[in-house]
Amino acid sequence: MALEMSGEYELPQAREVVWKALNDAEILKKCIPGCETLEKLSDSEFQATVKLSIGPVSARFKGRVKLEDIDAPNGYKIAGEGEGGVAGFAKGFANVALAEAGEGTKLTYKAEAATGGKIAQLGQRLIAGSAKKTADRFFENFVAALQDYK
């Protein structure tokens, strides 16, 4: 995969709380940018519809979000891939790690993303920026969602 991203966040919540939120479909739905539907298929698999715009191409991607390498409460891999019809496809994953940091939790992630079809053909210059923005927004949304999460 072509694009690699990483980041880290200091969270005031305890690691167990953060972990629980990371596995909560409602929270994920709120946090995945452009997520319109997220239906739980099993504890670790969801069906999702995500609206994404990259450069001149805007499309609704239908696909799956999977939680893999689950190691409670240390982290997991969250992977998603979706087909956007004529626009092509997008896929990516993030390895999320949680570590105790005093009272709170340190969240670090490493993510990769790839696109194909028209979205890769036309949006090339914008993909790196869009992917980074999408990853950042997910974790920013997550930090915000945690504020009144128990």
Binding site: A2, V86, T115, G116, G117, K118, Q121, L122, Q124, R125
Partner: protein, 787 residues
């Protein structure tokens, strides 16, 4: 020379309609009841097609039908083929994988069609395409030709193990190795000839119509060779017999080779039109053109040049890996072989040459002929090697060339070709005078004072065009003969219709062909019309590519005009009661030799049709003749391009300060059109050398798929060219013409890269030499100088 005859700079007759928007292109044509086709294309470079569900899409508004590869196979529509058989070193034939017009089991490049939606409107078709559900089993992809044959590389076609289509060779290996063993000096270069997207101004299009009453099909398409399209679609695809298939290529907005080939979309349009019993229209958009037009070039080459103590070139050896893409396009096999390695002798007398070419499949768009087709790649190899060798030997590149030029003709090269005529020194000397070569040092010093680098580069190219003697190409594997046909129809009132198998898609045939007629018959140019591009009008034709329309197409017209002249003299003889042998024809007037008795062109043409002066037994009425012309040799345009650049080492910005082109195209019909061809060719070559490059990422996604990421040359990138010619008439055709359509694109990349490498002081400057490439090279070059 008359004002509209051979050699006159006549304004192009066709331009009035082109520039006023009154041309008639395929997409301008609308047939009653037509449906629009939209292709569902793979977003994956390599994948199995596990399932296609069209049920929801079929229920969408306006949808007439949705067809898949399974439907195509069910109707027994054949696949597309490559029409030139190449044989590997070990005698085995090339390994051609199946190319169905719609993929059924597996996709092999991004843009491979998996279904076609037919709907009342284009928007309805596109909407429904969104609803076609395709389950792909994604496979790893290979895009780099140098990695395609590696162990463990993803395999594209079962028939071609290790993705190898052929490993072919040409020349004398032992003699070449001996030359290298005895060499005083060997110059070595690794060269990547960058992949290009053709980008004709008019994207491809097709409309197919089925006539149920006659069980016949008509296809309007953007073709450079409608008869060849009909032949392939009939004989190999098995769509309909030739006499039940009419192909019309109306005005076509540029081709550059990319519209020679038979493409899936036109096959699908014909098939679908018969299935749904309504005309089917497909027009490529620019994004589709990037993905699905056959690309050009894409060679990875290692080349070596051997010289002796007297600075004579004694040997040349080349190993090239040619990327053919995901499927073998119509003439793809011939481009990196017989159109490439046969030109590796350049303008030089080289006693031993050996070339090896491996053609490989990759998960990219098919690669085929693109302006110059093989010859730009050969010229780039030879002219870079020669320039670098001169630099390594401490010789002036002009002197080194002069020492090695072919100077007597005919000259047999070690790689098939027999050069028939030329004066290479004359072109180079004239070019050097025009660019003021002897004062280049002063200009360089001036640039250096301003903190700029300056360089000059030669390209003394040769190419083989006027394609081609049928027997010769047949012996090399071509599936067709490459002659041309013409018919001259003279009307009773004296106006003339020329039916030609050549096809004009920007070349200006309506003007130049009419100039030939005007010259020969003494008639005004506007009483001549050129009819081309319709298989129901023109009996047959091999089309336009390989700079062949002048040398081959016009020679056929010239032969037919000979017959017209003979017949017209007979008619004039009956009119003036003289023997045909005693009639002289000049400037449109028939005169009885040694008398003042004469009749004019219009009198003779009318008499040919009213037939009052002769009885049927004496002479057939009418004035119409046809001819087929098969050339006896290729033609060999050659010349010298000199590029002079100034580079800002701080930014890598290249300014082309001077460009001189002196070409020998043999006799010239219309110098203005020739100059235009040279200008366009240089622009395309400069595009390849410093702007254009098609890139696939490792997943096989085309990441230069629009004009945002693929840089085309613009006026501001180019200098005002200084163009001139030298003339050695071509001895093998009646008009002495060689062809000029590709020369500019063939010559120019080497000239520009030679100039840039000269400026920066080292040889590692890949194409396209973008500012970032040149900046790095300039920085490295300066470091080298400081050491």
């Amino acid at each position: 020379m008359s004002a509209t005859g051979i050699g006159a700079a006549v304004r192009r007759k066709e331009d009035q309609r082109f520039i006023t928007g009154t041309g008639n292109y395929t997409s301008d044509i609308t047939r009653p009841g037509e449906v629009r086709a939209y292709f569902v294309r793979s977003p994956h470079a390599h994948a199995t097609i596990d399932k296609i569900d069209v049920s929801a899409a079929k229920r969408m508004p306006g949808v007439v039908d949705i067809l898949t590869g399974a439907d195509l196979a069910g109707d027994k529509i054949g696949g597309l083929i490559c029409g030139w058989a190449i044989t590997s070193k070990d005698g085995t034939p090339m390994k051609m994988g199946a190319h169905p017009a719609i993929a059924a089991d597996k996709v092999r490049c991004v843009g491979d069609a998996v279904a076609v939606v037919l709907a009342e409107t284009l928007l309805q078709a596109r909407d429904a395409a969104e609803a076609v559900q395709v389950d792909y089993g994604v496979l790893p992809a290979v895009v780099d030709p140098a990695k395609a044959t590696a162990k463990g590389a993803p395999q594209l076609h079962d028939v071609a193990p290790n993705n190898l289509i052929y490993d072919w060779h040409l020349g004398d290996k032992a003699a070449t190795e001996a030359a290298f063993a005895a060499a005083k000096h060997v110059t070595k270069l690794d060269i990547i000839n960058n992949r290009l997207v053709p980008n004709a101004m008019e994207p491809r299009a097709a409309i197919a119509e089925y006539d149920q009453g006659n069980d016949a099909l008509t296809l309007w398409n953007t073709s450079q060779n409608p008869h060849v399209a009909r032949l392939v679609i009939s004989a190999f695809v098995g769509m309909a017999p030739e006499h039940k298939l009419r192909v019309i290529a109306p005005d076509v907005g540029g081709g550059f080779g990319s519209k020679i080939f038979i493409y899936p979309e036109e096959v699908v349009a014909l098939w679908a039109a018969r299935r749904v019993k309504r005309p089917v229209k497909w027009v490529s958009d620019r994004s589709e053109a990037f993905l699905t037009d056959a690309h050009g070039r894409d060679h990875v080459t290692h080349a070596e040049l051997a010289t002796d103590a007297n600075h004579k070139i004694t040997g040349l050896r080349v190993h090239t890996i040619a990327n053919i893409g995901s499927y073998m396009s119509t003439f793809s096999s011939s481009v990196p072989t017989y159109l490439y390695a046969t030109l590796l002798s350049g303008q030089y007398a080289i006693p031993a040459i050996y070339a090896e070419v491996d053609a490989v499949y990759t998960n990219t768009a098919p690669v085929d002929a693109y302006r110059g087709a093989g010859r730009p790649e050969a010229t780039f190899v030879v002219e870079r090697l020669v320039e670098v060798a001169a630099r390594e030997l401490g010789l002036d590149p002009a002197e080194f060339r002069r020492k090695n030029f072919v100077t007597s003709f005919p000259h047999q090269t070690p790689v098939i070709m027999t050069y028939d005529a030329g004066d290479y020194d004359a072109s180079m000397t004239k070019a050097m005078e025009m660019i003021d070569y002897k004062n280049f040092g002063k200009r360089k010093a001036e640039s250096e004072k301003n903190g700029k680098l300056r360089g000059i580069g030669f390209s003394t190219y040769i190419e083989a065009c006027g394609i081609a003697p049928s027997q010769a190409v047949g012996s090399l594997g071509a599936g067709v003969g490459l002659w041309e046909s013409a018919e001259v129809r003279v009307n009773p009132t004296g106006s003339v219709e020329i039916l030609t198998g050549s096809h004009s898609h920007g070349q200006g045939h309506e003007t130049t062909f009419a100039q030939l007629v005007s010259d020969r018959l003494g008639v005004p140019i506007d009483t001549v019309s050129i009819v081309h591009g319709d298989t129901d009008k023109v009996q047959f034709g091999m089309g336009t590519y390989g700079s062949r329309s002048g040398a081959v197409g016009m020679s056929a017209i010239s032969k037919a005009l000979d017959k017209i002249e003979d017949k017209a003299k007979k008619v004039a003889g009956y009119m003036m009661e003289a023997a045909a042998d005693d009639i002289e024809f000049k400037d449109g007037k028939f005169t009885v030799k040694g008398t003042d008795k004469s009749v004019g062109w219009g009198d003779v043409t009318l008499n040919a049709y009213i037939a009052h002066k002769f009885t049927g037994g004496q002479l057939e009425p009418g004035l119409k003749e046809g001819a087929f012309y098969d050339p006896t040799n290729f033609t060999f345009p050659a010349g010298c391009h000199l590029a002079e650049v100034e580079i800002d080492p701080e930014t890598g910005k290249i300014t082309i300060a001077n460009w001189v082109a002196v070409d020998d195209f043999g006799n010239i019909i219309n110098p203005m059109i020739v100059e235009g061809q040279v200008h366009g060719g240089i622009a395309q070559g400069v595009g390849q050398a410093m702007l254009e490059g098609a890139h696939y990422n490792a997943d096989g996604q085309l990441v230069t798929g629009s004009f945002m990421d693929y840089a085309m040359p613009r006026a501001a990138d180019l200098p005002s060219f200084k163009v001139d010619t030298t003339v050695t008439p071509c001895p093998s055709n009646p008009l002495g013409i060689k062809g000029c359509g590709e020369a500019g694109a063939i010559a120019s990349p080497a000239a520009l890269i030679n100039a840039i490498t000269n400026a920066v002081g080292h040889e590692n400057v890949p194409m396209p030499a973008t500012p970032s490439v040149v900046w790095k090279a300039a920085q490295g070059g300066m470091k080298k100088a400081a050491e």
